[in-house]
Every structure is written in structure tokens, then in C-alpha cells.
């Protein structure tokens, strides 16, 4: 897992993504904000969504209350 470690802690890149999602943001915008390749951002967004830390808002993504507690 790239974002959520086996012990449940988050990687630094995952925290950077969560911080970038205070308002609804598209994957392409996030990639340029955090300086990660788009393919990696897409993969991380999928993982963070499955973990309930972010949610989809149309074509964009937004941090959840659960996600905020992990920062």
C-alpha cells in the first residue's frame, strides 16, 4: 500500500494529498500542487477513498471528517 502503511499510519505523500483536499480538487490539480506524477495521484486517491479518508465529489475529491483526524 502506497498511502496507508500496514500499521495504519499514513505515508508523508498521503498526508500531503489529504492537506491538498481541504476543498474539492481534481486529480490533475492535485498532481501539480503536490508535485507527484498523475498516475501515482490517481492510485493514491483510489486507496484513500477506499480507506474512507477522502470522498468523491463529482470529478473532484474532498477530505472527509475521518481524514481530517489523521492529519
Amino acid at each position: 500500500m502506497a498511502c496507508v502503511n500496514p500499521d495504519g499510519t499514513l505515508s508523508e505523500s498521503a498526508k500531503a494529498l489529504l492537506r491538498a483536499l481541504a476543498k474539492p480538487t481534481a486529480a490533475e490539480e492535485i498532481a501539480s500542487q503536490v508535485g507527484q506524477p498523475l498516475f501515482k495521484v490517481r492510485s493514491s486517491l483510489r486507496e484513500l477513498t477506499a480507506a474512507g479518508l477522502i470522498k468523491e465529489a463529482g470529478e473532484k475529491f474532498l477530505i472527509t471528517e475521518s481524514g481530517k483526524t489523521r492529519l
Binding site: M1, A2, C3, P37, F39, K40, R42, S43, E47
Partner: protein, 222 residues
């Protein structure tokens, strides 16, 4: 004998073909779980190597890492693959950086169940049943297979040719031309031959072209 030929023909039917959509997959990599669709919008060079911690593969990995920046400037990502575990990939990438001073910046698929290797025909049973050959798939930004290169276990690939191939494909797309043998950026390109007698006659009168005959014309790209 006949059954073997039928089986081989059936197996080949599902293999990637130039101009066909690239087979989709989801795989564990050194950069997390990736899907082919994660790369949509950028070109991708998907390549396989026989095994981690082997000398020819190590020289290739260093060489791939050295062209990674140039490929990214061309909107192209790199994705490696072998039938090794993700832990082996991580250890090998760290070893290359520690012993040989080259950071491996691209993800590597840990294809232990051979799922991606089988989809892409990376295993050559006549050569090895457990190691993938040195395959290269150039996949465009719409996820169509645009070129394939297959090298045997014994022979390391030429990075200049991989970069040149990508440069050619992107030039072909942008300018609707073809590229001649040994073409390099800046060289003249081939104008696609006319397909009617009328356009053949127009072609030889067209200005700005270097024509040897109606079917064989080159031009400079502005």
C-alpha cells in the same frame, strides 16, 4: 502436432497487437497498486526484464532511469515488470542506488502470478518458463499499443532506439507523416504516398517537397 499449432494460434490471438487497445490490468508495484488506466493521458513505456539482481538487467535499469527525465519531458512514463516480489524489487532498487549510484525513479510491477506477463506475451516458453523476456510496449496517451520490441534474455536493450521510437511516434501523430530509416529529430520526414492517380500528379508538382518520384517524397518539418 496439429493440436499444438491450434493451441499456439489461440494463445497468440489474445496477445497485444499494434493499433489495438492495450490490455488493462491492476498490479502491485513498488509505487503501490497501479492500474494501466492510471496512466491515461500520458504515454507509457511498459517493459519487462528477466529477473532482479542479474547483471544485464541491472545495466538496463540504470539506463532506463537515465532516460526517465527525458521521457517525462515527452509526456511519457516508465513502468517495469518482472516475476519477482515487491520486496525483491525494493531491495534491488536500493542496491542499485547504494552500489551503483543510480536512483530508480519509476515503478516496477511485482508480477508473481504472471498475470500481466501473460496478457502481454512477455513469456517466451522456448527461452524460459519463469523469466520474462526483454519486452518493450509503447502505449500512447489513449492507451493504444503503438510499438513493441522483443529482445532475448542475453541482450540488453538500446535506450537511444527506445527514445527515438517515441520521438518518431509523437512526430507522426503531430504532423501526419512517416519517418525513414535511421530518422532522428530534425531530419526530413516522409510524406505519405498519394492514393489516387490525381493526387499522384499533384504531388510531383507540389512545392517544398524533395521528391525522387511520385510515391517517395520527403520534407522538412517547420
Amino acid at each position: 502436432m496439429e493440436n499444438t499449432m491450434v493451441n499456439e494460434a489461440k494463445a497468440a490471438e489474445g496477445l497485444p497487437r499494434i493499433g489495438s487497445p492495450a490490455p488493462q490490468f491492476e498490479a502491485v508495484t513498488t509505487h503501490g497498486t497501479l492500474r494501466l488506466s492510471d496512466f491515461k493521458g500520458s504515454w507509457l513505456i511498459l517493459f519487462s526484464h528477466p529477473a532482479d539482481f542479474t547483471p544485464v538487467c541491472t545495466t538496463e535499469f540504470i539506463a532506463f532511469a537515465q532516460i526517465h527525465g527525458k521521457l517525462r519531458e515527452m509526456n511519457c512514463e516508465l513502468l517495469g515488470l518482472s516475476i519477482d516480489s515487491v520486496y525483491s524489487h525494493i531491495a534491488w532498487a536500493r542496491n542499485i542506488e547504494e552500489k551503483l549510484g543510480q536512483k530508480i525513479t519509476f515503478p516496477i510491477i511485482a508480477d508473481l502470478n504472471k498475470e500481466v506477463a501473460t496478457k502481454y506475451g512477455m513469456l517466451m516458453p522456448g527461452e524460459s518458463k519463469t523469466e520474462t523476456s526483454r519486452c518493450v510496449f509503447v502505449i500512447d496517451d489513449k492507451q493504444v499499443i503503438r510499438a513493441m520490441i522483443y529482445y532475448p534474455l542475453s541482450t540488453g536493450r538500446n535506450m537511444d532506439e527506445i527514445v527515438r521510437l517515441l520521438q518518431s511516434l509523437q512526430t507522426v501523430d503531430k504532423h501526419k507523416v512517416a519517418t525513414p530509416a535511421n530518422w532522428r529529430p530534425g531530419d526530413k520526414v516522409i510524406v505519405p504516398p498519394p492514393i489516387t492517380q490525381e493526387t499522384a500528379e499533384e504531388r510531383v508538382r507540389e512545392k517544398g517537397l524533395e521528391c525522387k518520384d511520385w510515391y517517395f517524397c520527403k520534407k522538412d518539418l517547420k
